[in-house]
Amino acid sequence: MLELHSLTIHEIRDMLRAGQICSKDILDSVYSRIEALDDKIGAYLTLTKEEAYEAAAIIDKKIAEGEKLGDLAGIPMAIKDNISTKGVKTTCASKMLENYVPPFDAHAYEKLKEAGAILIGKTNLDEFAMGSSTENSAFKITRNPWDLERVPGGSSGGSAAAVASDEAYFALGSDTGGSIRQPASLCGVVGFKPTYGAVSRYGLVAFGSSFDQIGPFTKDVEDCAILLNHLYGHDKKDSTSLNVEFGDFTEALNKDIKGMRIGLPEEYFGEGIDPEVKKLVLDGVKVLEGLGAHVEEISLPYSKYALPVYYIAASAEASSNLARYDGVRYGYRAKDYSSLEELYVNSRSEGFGEEVKLRIMLGTYTLSSGYYDAYYNKALKVRRLIKQEFEEAFEKYDVLISPTSPTTAFKIGERTDDQLAMYMSDICTVPINIAGIPAISVPCGLSKGLPVGMQIMSKSLGEASIIKVAHAFEQNTNFTKKKPTL
């Protein structure tokens, strides 16, 4: 008997259309998987079983009555718990929003719902998406399905682990400095960070507004293309949302990559990159070369400033974005206070975790009068240089390729006391958010039994090139088919 939960979106979609299965069967498969495994893995914070079965019943009725179905009809989805879901708790894995229930849907979720997808639950993350291991969640630890002693990466660790363990067919995450790609890499799934502005941020709880993008975790590249078709689009509720025609990304599937120009930025293969990770990525590049792509080494010298630029600018925005959690209208309020100031100080001191407080302090400092020019303003200037450097590179190359994460999944607790080591996890992914360009992480092999991800980047709105290369790679290797033993 075929295990339904291990299939992809396009596979179960075909079966549903063919009448081989109904929407309820799909839900049964995924919920029984969650029941069997999630105590061990800890991907979910909230399950929405009741609402999910109601939605499935409506779809099955539609099928029975021969009504037209949405493209994603009956496909279960997991959503990172910093993306607003009306009537369903959206905690950001923070004590601050432990009981917060949004009165509206995030635009991205709304679009998938319109296409028929069914929310099955909300996934764990580093508190307010700040972290690279999902260890900063106020509620629980999520474990890597490939090795339960290891982290799934972060901040969208719950979403990555859910897809990797077949506890979800696909999941949404958010990526501010690598929070989709890095956990995708560490969990051996496909993760995509869209061009800034391609997916509406409305309803995504803001961390670094000028970096944040919602994107999908999928089991293969085809599923990723299918989801981008639904997620992309202008939203007048988000001023930074792009108003352009995106086209059909599935048209980029099954294409010849002969003659495509691939650049390998040397800075992304240098110091701090695990040699085996480097080897697997370069092996992957050889596969592409074998398919007729031209490969060249290039240099992106400004990339070495990406990490400080990111931690200054994103933390500055975060310090302001998270100021609204003051215990006044919603969220956590301290029990003891005797003045307005104490209400603020106590609620925020007790409601936020250490990493969040650290970044708020960092951001507040860099925006302070007297320091603004030295830090924030300088960071903005360097940001422009990094952006420009990418633009120049993409005049010569269709895509750039690098490792997604410098290492494979590390052990739980291994880096919690070493802030810098933790921040280094994002060294290859952060520059992409700084430049606002799109990038994917696709599995490119196992190192000591742990997945390694290859990052493919393109210029802004160059998604089709990424999908083309990633799909060609996937079709000529078997890495996305590899599953952890659970």
């Binding site: 993306i83 607003s84 959206t90 950001c92 929003l97 917060y100 949004p102 009165p103 509206f104 995030a106 941020r201 409305y202 309803g203 995504l204 709880v205 803001a206 670094g208 507004s209 000028s210 007048k236 509720k237 988000d238 001023s239 930074t240 500055a316 925005e317 310090s319 302001s320 100021a323 609204r324 003051d326 006044v328 209208r329 919603y330 307005l340 603020y344 507040t364 925006l367 302070s368 009068s369 603004y372 924030y376």
Partner: protein, 476 residues
């Protein structure tokens, strides 16, 4: 020592757009608490602002009317601070790229023209309103109806040299905003708010003295009083050898004093930075030209036109055009009327007096423009005496009735029928032979006495002009 006073004003005006600055909520004053609000203006996680284009349009109108340069590129910034009425804990404002800059306003002080520079005009959003419990019920509540309402902040240069000038500047500015119909400009309701920076320096000194900032002045009168108080306070402190502390002070209307709120050391660091949720505001010359073409007539132009079209003195025109409402009222009365000066006198005299006495606004007066026209006609036609007209005016104010019926109701119709007056005068002359003799002997003031007697005989209803004329005829 002689001191010179330096004042600069920061004015906040709520823009009367239909919807708020960054969401679709209605922009309305009053209303049940927390009914005009949504996730955006209540600062819910994940909600995003979208700039209302009308806000930019209104602000640009103000900028053009005040002779500002309009920035083709400007952006919004976040001003960060914690307060329960500020749901996002930052206000969306503009920091280093105001929409408009370098304008000016002309005022008249003691008949002399003077320009007050406008440093900048920028757009921003209003905060909510706190409602505090009593001392026994220790709580505070927030009403978000006002949260996200669009504001423009208009910052003047430190060109103002007296509390009176400050008031004249604010009155002029208020008038212009009203003419543009971009703000209600109600100081009592808070749709026009004014903060003032004041310092003094010895006459002849170049450097500014230490300034204090005054808040909470809720009327024109309060602005002037507060600044007069503060000006004296500065002088007193300095004359006693003390120093002025740079601080923010609150005007206490009831006590008539300013009280310290916070010193410079306690001032906020607002940590301004560009608002990443909004895109820059890019304007084109064509668009600005379009707005400019559609600007309504402004107070100074209207004043000149009133002089030209209605032949009223410039002083009258300056008073009548101070507010748009008053100028509209005057013009409705005076249009096509043969005696605009009389109408001007009525509006500037009785109408303004009664508004001030009863603390009423023009729209609340029951005196319709056509009633005032008729009233002037009745006087001009001799139906009413000027004192009778004042009585009719009072009654119009009280009852809202039209003047002609009031004339009879009050029994004020003058006798203007010459035949009847001739009879009356003849009778008076025959009863006052002595005065007649006196007059004929050159005692001209006897005529006054005779007019008085005639008025008395007519029980005050005789038309004095006609009586005069007939008297002279009969005595010659």
């Amino acid at each position: 020592m002689n001191y010179e006073t330096i004042i600069g004003l920061e004015i906040h005006a709520e823009l009367s757009t239909k919807t708020k600055a960054f969401c679709n909520c209605k922009n309305e004053f009053g209303g049940e608490v927390n009914t005009n609000c949504c996730p955006v203006c209540m600062g819910y996680p994940g909600a995003l602002p979208v700039l209302n284009k009308k806000v930019v349009e209104y602000a640009v109108k103000a900028g053009l009317a005040l002779g500002c340069e309009i920035s083709l590129y400007s952006k919004t910034d976040r001003k960060n601070y914690f307060y329960p009425d500020l749901p996002k804990a930052y206000q969306i404002s503009q920091y280093d790229t105001p929409l408009c800059k370098n304008g000016k306003i002309k005022i008249e002080v003691d008949g002399k023209e003077k320009y007050i520079g406008i440093t900048r005009i920028h757009i921003e959003e209003d905060a909510g309103k706190l409602i505090h419990g009593t001392e026994s019920e220790d709580y505070s509540l927030v009403d978000f109806n006002r949260s996200g309402v669009p504001l423009i902040e208009i910052v003047s240069e430190p060109d103002i040299r007296s509390p009176l000038e400050a008031r004249l500047y604010l009155e002029k500015l208020k008038g212009i905003l009203e003419y543009l119909e971009i703000s209600d400009c109600k100081m009592q309701e808070g749709s026009l708010r004014c903060d003032a920076n004041i310092s003094i320096r010895p006459v002849g000194q170049k450097e500014f003295g230490t300034k204090t900032e005054i808040k909470n002045m809720n009327s024109m009168k309060a602005l002037q009083r507060a600044l007069e108080y503060e000006e004296e306070r500065h002088k007193k402190v300095l004359s006693e050898g003390g120093t002025i502390v740079q601080e923010t002070r609150r005007w206490d209307e009831a006590k008539g004093i300013t009280v310290s709120m916070r010193t410079k050391e306690q001032a906020h660091d607002y940590r301004y930075f560009p608002e990443p949720d909004l895109v820059p505001i890019i304007l084109t010359e064509e668009w600005i030209e379009g707005i400019k073409k559609d600007l309504p007539e402004l107070p100074d132009e209207k004043r000149k036109r009133f002089v030209r079209e209605y032949g009223i003195p410039d002083y009258d025109a300056s008073v009548l055009t101070l507010t748009k409402e008053l100028s509209d009222f005057f013009e409705t009365c005076a249009k096509g009327h043969k005696n605009p000066k009389a109408i001007s006198n009525w509006v500037m005299g009785e109408v303004l007096r009664i508004m001030k006495e009863k603390e009423l606004e023009l729209k609340d007066l029951r005196i319709k423009p056509e009633f005032l026209r008729k009233l002037v006609d009745l006087v001009d036609e001799g139906v009413l005496s000027s004192t009778g007209a004042k009585q009719v005016f009072e009654e119009m104010f009280k009852t809202g009735e039209e003047p002609e019926s009031l004339v009879d109701k009050l029994g004020l119709r003058q006798i203007s029928d010459e035949g009847a007056i001739v009879e009356l005068v003849k009778k008076v002359l025959s009863e006052n032979q002595k005065s007649v003799e006196d007059y004929k002997n050159g005692k001209t003031n006897a005529l006054g006495y005779l007019v008085g007697q005639c008025m008395k005989a007519s029980k005050g209803k005789g038309n004095p002009q006609i009586i005069n004329k007939i008297l002279k005829d009969l005595l010659s």
